[in-house]
């Protein structure tokens, strides 16, 4: 398959029951782009961690009236680099590390080629992957 610019953009309520469908959609998108199994699993694992983090923490300090959403944007460029942006409209809370918790960020760091977290407006996790296809 020739490399083509493609993107997937999903926005859902920030509820736990939406995490698996969003992850599955990302998996299907990567499968269509002929990602090999391990890369596909790793990228969807990293995405799953970012999404679960939103559901668990993002809106804890938000007013009841706030729209609670999660958003995933996956883009592949012509060179074959995949960028993944997982974002929310919540309030980022700096949490002290707790022993036996907080493995999500460690997992994302282990998988992604680069990882950047922007908390200026909601939380926006940007990851890139040089995935094998």
């Amino acid at each position: 398959m020739t490399l083509r610019r493609s993107q997937l953009n999903l926005r859902c309520p920030a509820e736990s029951e939406y995490v698996a469908p969003v992850r599955h959609a990302l998996g299907a998108f990567l499968a269509a782009l002929e990602f090999e199994r391990q890369s596909l699993d790793d990228v969807t694992t990293a995405a799953g961690e970012a999404l679960a983090n939103i559901v668990e923490h993002a809106y804890r300090r938000s007013p009841e009236t706030a729209e609670r959403y999660l958003q995933l944007l996956a883009k592949i460029d012509a060179a074959g680099t995949l960028s993944l942006v997982v974002s929310d409209g919540g309030t980022f809370i700096e949490r002290p590390p707790v022993k036996g918790r907080g493995f999500g960020l460690r997992i994302m760091r282990a998988i992604a080629g680069s990882l950047n977290i922007d908390t200026s407006e909601g939380t926006c996790v940007r990851m890139t992957f040089r995935a094998k296809r």
Binding site: T44, G48, E49, G100, F103, I107, A110
Partner: protein, 110 residues
């Protein structure tokens, strides 16, 4: 859940993720007082850090009581997740049930 010997078996399959947090916790809690526990995760197709945290909580508790726990993880995604989280040393992991059973059998009073 009890096996023919004193090894309790907890079996979980499918996708172990945030939406099933309570179910995972409850399934493990059912084996809280067992002498030894085989957690059969061989039918798991995907796992996330929420599932790992529940497993870790259970295993640390069992360790404190000196009750052996063996996990069976056969899915590559799950096996890599444990590595990525830096938890390879925190669990006793086998890739098949017979070996896990053998390990526990040697550590479980009959």
């Amino acid at each position: 859940m009890n096996d023919h010997d004193s090894i309790s078996v907890v079996s979980l399959g499918g996708e172990l993720e945030i939406g099933r947090k309570d179910e995972i916790r409850e399934a493990l809690a059912a084996a809280r007082d067992a002498e030894s526990v085989l957690v059969d995760l061989s039918a798991v197709t995907y796992a996330d850090s929420i599932a790992l945290t529940e497993l870790l909580r259970f295993c640390v508790g069992a360790q404190q009581d000196e009750r052996p726990v063996a996990l069976v993880i056969a899915t590559p995604q799950f096996a890599r997740l444990v590595q990525y989280a830096g938890l390879s040393e925190a669990f006793t992991i086998f890739d098949n049930v017979p070996e896990a059973r053998e390990y526990l059998g040697a550590r479980t009073p009959r």
